[in-house]
């Protein structure tokens, strides 16, 4: 016993206290059955020693022979403020790529952006997004991005670039040599100011804006009618009747996210609302908008002006206006005219055709209907799409004559997407000094002497004014990953200013302070609020619409011969800027369900008559070979092909996918239009080209899958179209005890009346849940991994069918057929009603896939990560940065499926728990429900009587998919109601 010293009497007492242990019975240190006395006491014999020695040597040898790769994790030396590992930060920003605008929130984890969400505070997009916006985060991690600025195809540094550039700019200015700054449409007031300053300093530089798909006819028409070359704001939400001519405003036309929000706000029959707007669509291809139309008419592009003129004449007759000569057409306009007249001032006529004649008639009709100031607002013009064909044509000509000595190209790719790209390229070759501001070495940049690599929008500062008076802020969410610099910073540098662009912007805004500081007195507070909210919206006092001056209207005689070509932008690829984005390449088209390619959509009757089959190859104009899809609803005498494909310098995923059809644009009366070019189609006999479609059968086979009715019938009987539900509900009896959930039972409702099928949710889900891209071959084998899909059905006449879209993901059945067939219980039910997947437990028998009647389960057929056969974002160190760290990346051989974004549910539940409160309805959102631009997908707690989902489930329109199977899905659908006469 050691000698013990004590300092106080208390300590002495403490020391002499018998220890607690002594009071207890003596116990072995551990007890395991089968050990003998000596082992329990921890004694070991010589034999034990030898055994242990042998075992440990063996173990060490084994373990050391399987070496794990060394991966270093370097902790932060100084923890940045506001950065908590595992907790996401959100930054308000703006998606604007020269074509589309959307106010967004960027979700970052450990300082890297991983997901784009809509900004609810925006008065324009209202928290909606589109598939392209959702996928844009992946562009940040694109391997095709340039890592350094380039000088004559050699990587260099910014110092060299700046020195060369400033010298050259000086020289050109002194010599008075003309140069062009060719950009996309710029909606940033600060950038416009900066460009103004730049062109003032270097007056030899002319600034020209260019759009791949032009909208200049609308501006011109408004200039003629109203004296202002603007695009008005459209208020689809205020229109009871919308008549659209080839304007795919739910898909790609102008501001699809905003328009979808507006349009769908009148496509809701919940909360006792019994009113729907009505959409007439006259179109030359099957567009997403046409698919959602109440009345759809197929017309040839050459017929459009005559149809419009007939409509104008009908309205003019009724309102006492002046009628014009027109031509007979195949389609009826009387019904549309009557509906429009009955809704004067509450209707809207739009046309997506870039043709002055047509846009003039459209304006005249809207004027007769007194829509200006109501559904159209000229005082708040849309700032998008400011390019003019005339400017572009002029500079191409000048370039070819050698008058232009310098060319600065920013954010556009005319060497690819200009209709007369050949002339542009040959002109470019005559320009001695060419600078590209580009993220990648695209077709245009690769022709330039200098490539000033720009930041991705997620690395940039900027502002935007998409609609006059509505501002949106862009702020960097990550430090530039590569040695890149944003365009504006380059200009500032070359102007010799000593600030960076964020300061420049701040100063610009400070100068404009009076205009913006109404709500907050001081600038810092205002500036911080702007950065925080991301948007500012000014309500002007309603100013009078400009005066309408009459113009001569005329209609073209419809052509009857040959094929008229309609080019269109796909929901996924758009004009081809993102052709290297594998998420978008693999997104099934909402109409054709095709992925990875462009193709010729031919009318059904033509295909029948000429023996054309799916995947046959045709020659367009005798030169371009493209595969065929026989498209229901493709009007007689037209074919359509998607733009944006056939890139040669997009990157490894997008190069050589499809064919470039920009050269087939229709140039007429000074405007480039996507439709109207006459082409020939000729079958290449014996040749087939495989296409990867995600759906091969387009008929519901008379099964009550998508249930539908018309508005009059619905008003008469809210259960109309849903009679089967009443029968099935009666039959839904069981001997088993009903599961009662405690507190939470997650559920979802999908309103098929609101859903447009835009597939934004598909990409949102892919981004949120680390869904792999598998490539065309695998998609063709019907192995697409998307956790949610949009089923698309046709009914009625194949030449002008009714189209149905139905989002389907795991419906989380309470009596799930997948669960009881899994031999290892890898898929099971949570006490919150989730049908969950334990990937680690799954052995891949795939029985659950077979037994799922909705076929929403996905099997990992291959290792889709780190596999050179699937060389997409998950096979690249850079591309993998986009992965959501909250969601596991699945291994080969396991089944996966929609989890209802369980990581989001957990996050919000924990947050509520920490704040010691109940969850609020709407607080928890899945990726799909959150990003849905129509609000069709609603998510919530079925146990909460006041939640939106419970309210929706009380609607008579509610039904469950395949409910007769008594598998009790937690997701329900609401019948599709079309606003048609019965």
């Amino acid at each position: 016993m050691e000698k013990q010293y004590w300092q106080s009497l208390e300590e002495y007492k403490e020391l002499n206290k018998p220890t607690v242990l002594e009071h207890k019975e003596s116990q072995p240190e551990f007890s395991i059955e089968g050990l003998d006395e000596s082992e329990i006491k921890g004694q070991s014999s010589r034999r034990d020693f030898l055994k242990m020695l042998g075992f440990s040597v063996g173990t060490v040898a084994l373990v050391s022979s399987c070496q794990m790769p060394i991966r270093k994790a370097i902790p932060l030396l100084n923890q940045p403020e506001e950065l908590i590992p595992g907790v996401p930060n959100y930054y308000a920003s703006t998606f604007y790529d020269g074509n589309d605008y959307c106010s967004v929130l960027v979700k970052t984890r450990e300082n890297r952006p991983i997901k784009i969400e809509g900004n609810d505070m925006s008065k324009i997009t209202h928290g909606g997004t589109s598939a392209r916006v959702q996928a844009s985060v992946l562009n940040l991690y694109d391997d095709a991005r340039l890592k350094d600025p380039r000088k004559r195809e050699v990587e260099t540094d910014w110092k060299t670039i700046d020195r060369d550039m400033m010298m050259k700019l000086e020289d050109m200015a002194k010599a008075g040599q003309k140069a062009i700054l060719l950009t996309s449409t710029i909606i940033s007031p600060s950038t416009r100011e900066l460009i103004k300053e730049f062109t003032a300093t270097y007056p030899n530089i002319e600034w020209v804006q260019y759009d791949a798909v032009s909208y200049s006819a609308i501006r011109k028409a408004n200039e003629l009618h109203f004296g202002q070359a603007i695009i008005p704001s459209y208020h689809f939400c205020k229109a009871n009747v919308v008549v659209s001519f080839n304007a795919d405003f739910l898909g790609n036309w102008l501001m699809p996210v905003a328009f979808t929000k507006q349009f769908s706000s009148n496509r809701k029959l919940t909360n006792g609302n019994k009113k729907l707007n009505r959409l007439y669509q006259y179109e030359s291809r099957m567009s997403l908008t046409g698919a959602n139309a109440d009345y759809r008419y197929g017309i040839r592009p050459s017929e459009e002006s005559a149809v419009l003129m007939n409509l104008y004449n009908e309205i003019a007759k009724a309102t006492g206006g002046q009628t014009n000569g027109s031509h007979t057409t195949t389609v009826d306009v009387k019904q549309a005219a009557n509906d429009l007249l009955a809704n004067k001032g509450k209707s809207l006529v739009v046309s997506g055709t870039n043709n002055l004649q047509i846009q003039l008639i459209v304006n005249a009709i809207n004027h007769l209907l007194e829509n200006y100031g109501e559904t159209l607002d000229l005082t708040r013009p849309i700032n998008l799409k400011q390019g003019k064909e005339a400017d572009m044509q002029r500079i191409v000509k000048e370039m070819n004559t050698g008058n232009i000595h310098g060319l600065f190209v920013y954010n556009i790719n005319p060497a690819y997407d200009y209709a007369d790209a050949g002339a542009f390229v040959s002109g470019m070759l005559k320009v001695p000094f060419k600078v590209a501001f580009s993220e990648t070495c695209d077709e245009t940049a690769s022709l330039c002497n200098f490539v000033c690599t720009t930041n991705n929008y997620l690395e940039s500062w900027d502002d935007a004014e998409p609609i006059q008076g509505s501002f949106s802020f862009t702020q960097p969410t990550v430090r530039p990953i590569f040695n890149t610099r944003q365009f504006q910073d380059s200009l500032i540098k070359w102007l010799g200013l000593k600030v960076d662009y964020s300061t420049y912007m701040e100063e610009y805004w400070k100068a404009m302070l009076d205009q913006h500081q109404e709500d907050t007195g001081d600038f810092t507070a205002f500036w911080n609020k702007f950065k925080h909210d991301g948007v500012i919206h000014h309500d002007f006092d309603k100013t009078d619409q400009p005066k309408f001056t009459n113009q001569n209207l005329s209609a073209q005689k419809p052509s009857k011969n040959g094929f008229e070509l309609v080019l269109y932008e796909k929901m996924s690829i758009g004009t081809g800027k993102y052709t290297n984005n594998p998420w978008l390449l693999e997104m099934p088209d909402p109409i054709t369900t095709a992925t990875w390619d462009n193709y010729v959509c031919v009318p059904v009757r033509y295909a029948d008559e000429n023996g054309l089959e799916h995947e046959d190859v045709v020659k367009v104009n005798g030169e371009m070979e493209l595969p065929v899809i026989i498209q229901a609803g493709q009007p007689e005498g037209t074919v359509s092909i998607a733009l944006g494909y056939g890139r040669t310098a997009a990157g490894k995923a997008g190069n050589g996918v499809g064919k470039n059809v920009f050269p087939l644009m229709n140039f007429k009366g000074g405007y480039y239009d996507v439709a109207g070019n006459t082409v020939t189609i000729e079958k290449v006999s014996g040749k087939k080209y495989p296409l990867a479609l995600t759906q091969m059968h387009h008929n519901m086979e008379g099964r009550s899958i998508v249930r539908e009715t018309t508005l009059p019938k619905y008003k008469e009987n809210p259960s109309s179209g849903n009679e089967q539900h009443l029968i099935d509900d009666k039959n839904n009896v069981t001997l088993y005890q009903k599961i009662d959930y405690d507190g939470i039972h997650w559920g979802m409702t999908i309103d098929l009346t609101s859903c447009t099928g835009c597939a934004n949710c598909v990409i949102a889900c892919q981004a949120e849940n680390n869904v792999p891209v598998i490539g065309k071959d695998q998609v063709r084998k019907r192995r697409i991994m998307h956790w949610m899909r949009i089923d698309r059905y046709f009914s009625a006449d194949p030449e002008n069918p009714d189209v149905y879209h139905m989002p389907v993901m795991c419906l989380h059945c309470d009596n799930a057929p997948c669960e009881n067939v899994c031999p290892v219980a890898a898929t099971n039910h949570s006490n919150e009603g989730l049908n969950q997947m334990a990937y680690n437990r799954c052995i891949g028998t795939r029985y659950c896939i077979n037994n799922c009647p909705y076929k929403v389960r996905r099997f990992n057929w291959y290792e889709f990560v780190n596999n050179n056969k699937f060389d997409y974002n998950m096979n690249s160190e850079l591309g993998k940065m986009v992965l959501n760290p909250d969601v596991i990346v699945r291994q080969r051989g396991v089944v996966e499926k929609c989890s209802l974004c369980v990581q989001r549910l957990q996050e919000k539940k924990l947050q509520a728990k920490m704040e010691n409160r109940e969850l609020v309805d709407g607080e928890v959102q899945t990726a799909c429900s959150q990003s849905c631009p129509t609000g069709a997908i609603q998510f919530g707690n079925l146990k909460d009587e006041n939640s939106v989902v419970v309210q929706n489930n009380k609607e008579e329109r509610m039904y469950h998919l395949l409910e007769h199977l008594h598998i009790l899905p937690s997701t329900s659908y609401l019948t599709k109601v079309r606003n048609k006469e019965a």
């Binding site: 099964r703 192995r783 057929p817 009881n820 067939v821 031999p823 052995i843 396991v894």
Partner: protein, 459 residues
């Protein structure tokens, strides 16, 4: 009592007990014939191709097969059920014919049981290889673990499958092996080679042939037989539940358990017929496996074929009577007509129509035609499983997710591999094991032949 005047002679050729032993052991002691080597070479080739198929599947992924996210089962499951069905013959022969006191089974039951063993082995490979993560396959066994309450899902037919098939395999193997013990002893006694003597000695567990030995042997065989009898019914009933328990139209059918068992016996007998015709030709066993045997099997097949035909009709009737549009679609528009009608009609023709030709004695007596017809039955039964697995999955509830399925080279390789395994196993059996149960044949020899020595005694 067996009456030779009514039922004919079972063993031809005036055999004595010594002749029987000699005839049956002869192939084992003879030099291996050329046809054996050639067949073994081909079978080994197929087996190696199958090994490649396995390797490719395991290292690259199930993606190497033609399956997709809608048709998630294909050839692997078809072939699994097909092999399990074939694996029914042995036990069915031994047990049912024993119960029915069919003496003629003695010449065939050994080979049939051997076939069972190899067929079940071939079948057993499919559930393994068709798993996405074969390396975690042990999860399927209910073993104590450190993961808390994590246990198997005892509701899943796949778990029942594992239990049923492993039980059936073990029981069949034990039954087959125990039946061979006296015969191994016979070889041990007769062989000249010292090594063979040692090996067969060990395999015969020191069989003495004394009365006590025979008594225990008979008891053990009877007990095992009694235990194995329900397994014949249970194993394929449970395999059928892989389908019947699901909700897939065309699978969700109460008729499946008896229908599968009958189908299995049908295919098993078909395969026995194929093999017996080969065996008796190659080893000149016509005296043991007589035309009468083949005739008897053919009659049984005719009867079972009628049951099969009835089952097919009942399926169609039930689909119509149920009024379920999905059932009706699956049967009427996706099997009887539609893209899979070829498979359906092949099944129906091979299983329900062709065997009806056995009503004609002429056809029953023509061994070549009988052989061809036995092959047709094997093909027909394969198509039955194809029809069940593929047609139901490829076009089920939601037309949007309808997909087609075609096997890939890897799947074909795996199938060929199991075929190679089976044939190689049967060849080994021919070469090293007495293919006919010597002791059992001897036991019936006296009462079922017109051998002079025996008939004299009886007078």
């Amino acid at each position: 009592m067996y009456n030779t005047r009514i039922r004919g002679i079972l063993i031809h050729g005036n055999k004595s007990y010594a002749d029987v032993s000699h005839d049956i052991i002869k192939p084992i002691n003879d030099k291996t014939p050329l046809w054996w080597w050639v067949t073994a070479f081909l079978a080994t080739g197929a087996l190696f191709w199958g090994v490649w198929g396995f390797y490719n599947t395991i290292t690259v992924g199930i993606g190497e097969w033609g399956l997709n996210n809608n048709v998630a089962w294909g050839w692997a499951i078809i072939n699994f059920v097909w092999w399990i069905g074939i694996g029914h013959a042995g036990t069915a022969f031994s047990i049912f014919l024993l119960i029915l006191r069919q003496k003629w089974r003695t010449s065939i039951n050994r080979a049939a049981e051997a076939m069972t063993i190899f067929a079940v082995m071939a079948a057993g490979l499919f559930p393994l290889i068709h798993m996405g993560r074969i390396w975690d396959g042990f999860f399927i066994f209910p073993y104590w673990n450190t993961r808390g309450p994590l246990w198997d899902n005892f509701n899943s037919p796949l778990f029942w499958d594992v239990v049923a098939i492993s039980t059936y395999f073990m029981a069949s193997f034990a039954f087959w092996y125990i039946g061979m013990i006296p015969d191994f002893a016979t070889i041990r006694e007769r062989t000249a080679s010292k090594i063979k003597k040692k090996i067969y000695g060990a395999m015969s567990f020191g069989w003495l042939g004394n009365a006590r030995g025979w008594l225990r042997f008979e008891t053990a065989a009877l007990l095992l037989g009694g235990m194995a009898a329900p397994l014949v019914v249970s194993v394929h009933s449970i395999v059928s539940m892989d389908f019947a328990v699901s909700i897939v139209p065309g699978w969700h059918t109460t008729i499946f358990p008896p229908y599968f068992v009958i189908g299995a016996i049908f295919s098993g007998f078909g395969m026995v017929l194929t093999l017996m015709i080969v065996m008796r030709k190659m080893y000149k066993f016509k005296d043991y496996v007589t035309d009468g045997h083949l005739d008897a099997i053919a009659r049984i097949l005719t009867f079972i074929s009628l049951i099969m035909g009835t089952a097919y009709m009942i399926e169609l009737f039930t689909a119509w009577y149920s009024g379920s549009e999905y059932e009706l679609f699956t049967f009427m528009k996706n099997r009887v007509t539609g893209p899979y009608q070829f498979a359906y009609w092949t099944m129906l023709t091979c299983n329900a129509i062709i065997p009806q030709l056995f009503w004609f004695k002429k056809i029953r007596k023509n061994i070549t035609i009988v052989f061809i017809m036995s092959i047709f039955i094997n093909i027909g039964m394969w198509f039955e499983r194809y029809v069940i697995v593929v047609t139901s999955l490829s076009r089920d509830f939601l037309p949007a997710s309808w997909a087609t399925y075609e096997p890939t080279i890897t799947e074909i390789a795996v199938y060929a591999g199991t075929m190679g395994l089976f044939i190689l196993g049967v060849l080994m059996f021919f070469r090293f094991v007495p293919t006919i149960a010597i002791s059992e044949v001897k036991s019936v020899l006296k009462e079922t032949t017109t051998l002079k020595s025996f008939t004299d005694e009886s007078h």
